[in-house]
């Protein structure tokens, strides 16, 4: 069956793919570099990625129906096209594997401390392999069905943390000026992760011209929500404390209390957040699947197994939480960001030139 994804589903995919487990370390990431004003850079960081959504779409629309990897082969020839696909494949597998490892951390650092790592890995991997096996349309529907509760869980987290928040922690605004904020902007590459995913998503979108509007909606919602999470964390834990916590979201969830009856609601939040991490990891496994397919046109089932095994192997590489965060940061900044920005710029330019040369 031919798979299709609607404009609305693209918005939800933008939300789901960007969110993942980003809300856990984001407060630390921004507070570390921009201090108490870190919350101000989230919306600009997302907006800075938006032109690249346009460039990806521009390149795609020159030859609709094929994904950007295949388009790259057409534009750059096989000598450059295949290495680009291989690089894309490696990046997807590595990032997907790291996200799987981070998903296991979601439990092993909070409510399932005693559970052996391999049990968590096998469970998550089985779920992810099923998602990839069922195809991108089912993934879009799955994402659509669970992303709203995930977003609501974050909204509730913010709302329930308000009594403990002290807004004075954010003052004085812009004490260090705008310089730290501008300098930190490239360090928040989450919008580019979505641009990266768009490379393989575009051929499945029923009306590609709706991508801009749908993506913008997604970017806007997610950046506002993440700004809310960061402000809450900074206000509840102080900016200094926030830089020391790897996963500040956990601590926030642990501190939530509703009256005296409901306390320790962390497991409920974890159930929702686990869904978010599954979505993000699945998205990158799909990238891996399609890039594998671009290089080795194997059977669907076999490709899914290969993607599952390689991503599991990648999940075993980091030895500690610090390693995971470090590796994710490396893949984000040195692979995803350049591919989704410089790579697409190059393709767009070549595509434009070739298009103009056509009689």
């Amino acid at each position: 069956l031919k798979e299709y994804i609607s404009g609305r589903q693209v918005t939800f995919l933008a939300l789901g793919v960007i969110l993942g487990t980003v809300f856990l370390p984001i407060a630390r990431m921004v507070a570390e570099k921009a201090g108490r004003d870190g919350w101000m850079l989230i919306i600009p960081a997302f907006l800075s990625a938006f032109p690249f959504v346009y460039l990806t779409l521009f390149t795609y629309l020159k030859a609709p129906g094929v994904d950007i990897l295949q388009r790259a082969k057409q534009l750059l020839g096989p000598w450059l096209g295949y290495p680009l696909a291989a690089l894309f494949c490696f990046t997807s597998i590595a990032f997907g594997g790291l996200l799987i490892r981070q998903s296991t951390e979601l439990f092993s650092h909070s409510i399932m401390i005693e559970m052996p790592f391999w049990v968590l890995l096998v469970g998550i991997e089985m779920l992810l392999v099923s998602v990839v096996y069922l195809g991108i349309e089912v993934f879009a529907r799955f994402n659509e069905s669970i992303v709203i509760p995930i977003l609501l869980s974050l909204v509730f987290l913010i709302l329930f943390s308000i009594p403990k928040a002290e807004l004075s922690m954010l003052k004085p605004f812009l004490y260090n000026g705008l310089k730290p904020i501008i300098k930190t902007l490239p360090g928040i590459p989450f919008g580019f992760e979505y641009c990266f995913f768009l490379w393989i998503l575009l051929p499945f979108i029923h009306k590609p011209h709706e991508v801009m509007r749908s993506s913008f909606r997604g970017f806007l919602i997610i950046s506002i929500l993440l700004t809310g999470v960061v402000i809450t964390e900074l206000c509840v834990f102080t900016p200094e404390e926030a830089t020391r916590m790897f996963y500040g979201g956990f601590s926030l969830a642990r501190s939530v209390e509703i009256g005296t009856i409901f306390q320790g609601l962390e497991p409920f939040f974890i159930v929702f957040w686990f869904g978010a991490s599954i979505i993000k990891a699945s998205a990158f496994l799909f990238c891996a699947y399609f890039s594998f397919k671009a290089i080795f046109p194997l059977r669907h089932g076999l490709l899914v197994v290969i993607v599952g095994i390689t991503s599991s192997a990648m999940a075993l590489v980091p030895e500690s939480t610090i390693d995971i965060v470090k590796f994710i940061s490396i893949i984000d900044n040195y692979f995803i960001l350049p591919i989704a920005s410089l790579g697409i710029c190059l393709l767009a330019i070549v595509s434009y030139i070739k298009d103009r040369r056509k009689p």
Binding site: K2, L134, V138
Partner: protein, 533 residues
């Protein structure tokens, strides 16, 4: 050995398209294998082995005497109708102006056009069709030395009267239900939908049983592609017999190994008519009061016909209760097991102490305790269902009160577990569709197992796997989890989570009717168009 086992597993698990199910031996005479011209002698040779077939030979006293033969099945034919309007007119009306013109040469035509006063008569040349008609309850008339037969529609057998369906009873709404007789069922639908666009297509399914099946839909509302797909799937069924609509349900659904029912069935004509008005297709089977409607959505199984007869606010409240009931029925035991086994810190201290006190002396872990209680409950429920009603009720009371109380006193189970299991059992009854209720009961067990072994991690995996499975299902090309995924907020608010007032439900749900892929959000109808199965 291993190869044989693998072959056996493959045969039991893989559905092969077009493969016949329990095919009749080639030597068996079935109406599909019978070929040749329709004559009295050939029909008699085939049917004379059965004692319930009536062969009535008579003479038409026309201008010249003409021999005639009538064949019918005892008990399936309306004898009064045959005697008064067929035999009487042909045999005893002396000096009848038409009868006096009958000769062996024109007898067939005269009988057909002038003498039989029944409103349902048909000429038949094929042997198979004539035998089919006899075995379906019609009377078949032969004229000596004349080719062909006259089929007289005279079906009439004892049937249960129209009564209220027990499994779908309502406080407000019609009290009539479908019966086992197909003709009564079609008439009930026709009485509700008097439009000329309401089409009923007859089919015969089952090589040996030749069960009458009717496919009903409203032309112009139902999507033509879905209608075609349903017809194709029905015609592709190759089985020796259909005894209930459940056979058809299993053979036409998209994913037979899913725990979720993908074909809705109802005993209520108003419910079937409502589905038809939404653009769905009804499949009526002779011999059962259960009418299938397709395509079906997950949400449909949580809607009752009464929701549409009561005021919207009442329906909204009832729907919320049902949705809450589903969550409780599916998740409560699993959450209880996970919380008491792995995540005690979630529970307030006072409650922890109370649970601990209750569990004091219970020799088994919470998982085993919950499993044993749930299985006991299922046994009681099954026993109560199979026994005569008064005894069944007594079994329920004895089971719930006496055994439950004794088990708590003997410290075999904790009091809080009894509360959890009872709440779960009560909540599972809030689902209006029995088939979905069973599914929820069934799914509770793997979720309990997952949460007992892996706590909230296992439960999360189970819940997300369920969601993923629901998102992957389709019913005749329509996404099963619509309007949640693909999402449609308008439909979600119109008639899913809540029930909007009738004046707000201006359009027919577009997912069933409009072929534009954008309406189905993920282009499922487009997909159906491209690759019909």
């Amino acid at each position: 050995m291993l190869k044989r086992f693998a072959r056996m597993v493959k045969a039991l698990t893989l559905r092969r398209k077009g493969a016949p199910i329990r095919p009749a031996p080639k030597t068996t005479l079935t109406t599909t294998t019978l070929k040749g011209p329709c004559t009295y002698s050939s029909v008699k040779a085939i049917l004379s082995k059965s004692f319930d077939i009536i062969f009535r030979d008579f003479t038409i006293e026309g201008k010249q005497p003409v021999k005639g033969h009538l064949i019918c099945v005892d008990g399936m034919v309306d004898k009064e109708l045959v005697n008064n309007f067929v035999l009487k007119t042909l045999m005893v009306q002396g000096n009848h102006p038409v009868l006096s013109k009958v000769t062996p040469g024109n007898a067939f035509e005269m009988v057909f056009s002038h003498l039989i006063t029944n409103n349902e008569v048909k000429k038949e040349d094929l042997l198979s069709n004539a035998i089919d008609a006899i075995l379906s309850g019609d009377s078949v008339l032969f004229i000596e030395d004349q080719p062909g037969a006259i089929i007289v529609g005279a079906r009439g057998w004892g049937n249960r009267g129209v009564s209220e369906p027990e499994a779908e009873s309502v406080v407000r709404g019609p009290r009539e239900g479908f019966t086992e007789t197909l003709r009564i069922n079609t008439s009930q639908l026709r009485r509700k939908i008097k439009s000329p666009d309401f089409v009923m297509k007859p089919l015969k399914i089952g090589e040996v049983t030749r069960t009458d099946v009717v496919m009903a839909y409203i032309k112009g509302i139902a999507n033509d592609k879905i209608v075609k797909e349903v017809e194709n799937r029905l015609q592709a069924i190759k089985i020796n017999g259909i005894l209930e609509s459940g056979y058809i349900e299993e053979l036409i659904e998209d994913v037979p190994y899913s725990p979720f029912p993908q074909v809705f069935h109802t005993e209520r004509p108003d419910s079937a008519a409502a589905d038809l008005l939404e653009g769905k297709i009804a499949i009526l089977t002779d011999g059962t009061p259960f009418v299938l409607t397709v395509p079906s959505l997950f949400v449909q199984f949580f809607q009752a016909s009464e929701d549409y007869y009561e005021r919207p606010f009442t329906a909204v409240l009832v729907r919320f209760i049902r949705q809450f009931g589903v969550v409780i029925a599916l998740l409560l035991p699993a959450v209880y097991i996970a919380v008491t086994t792995f995540h005690q810190d979630m529970i307030p201290t006072a409650l922890v102490l109370s649970i601990a006190e209750g569990r004091q002396g219970v020799p088994v872990p919470a998982l085993v305790e919950a499993f044993s209680m749930e299985i006991t409950l299922e046994i009681l429920r099954e026993a109560g269902l199979r026994l005569p009603r008064p005894i069944g009720q007594a079994i329920g009371i004895v089971g719930a009160l006496v055994i439950g109380d004794a088990a708590v006193k003997a410290s075999l189970v904790s009091p809080i577990m009894v509360i959890v299991v009872s709440l779960t059992a009560i909540a599972s009854f809030t689902t209006p569709a029995f088939s979905m209720g069973i599914t929820i009961r069934l799914l509770r067990f793997p979720l309990m197992l997952l949460s007992g072994m892996f706590g909230f991690f296992g439960l999360s995996i189970g819940i997300y796997a369920l969601f993923l499975h629901l998102c992957s299902l389709r019913s005749f090309g329509i996404p099963y989890f619509y309007p949640a995924a693909p999402g449609n907020l308008f439909d979600l608010l119109k008639d899913t989570l809540v029930r909007a007032p009738w004046w707000a439900q201006r359009a027919t749900p577009r997912i069933f009717t409009n072929p534009d892929p954008e309406y189905s959000s993920s282009g499922s109808l487009k997909a159906l168009e491209e690759e019909p199965s």
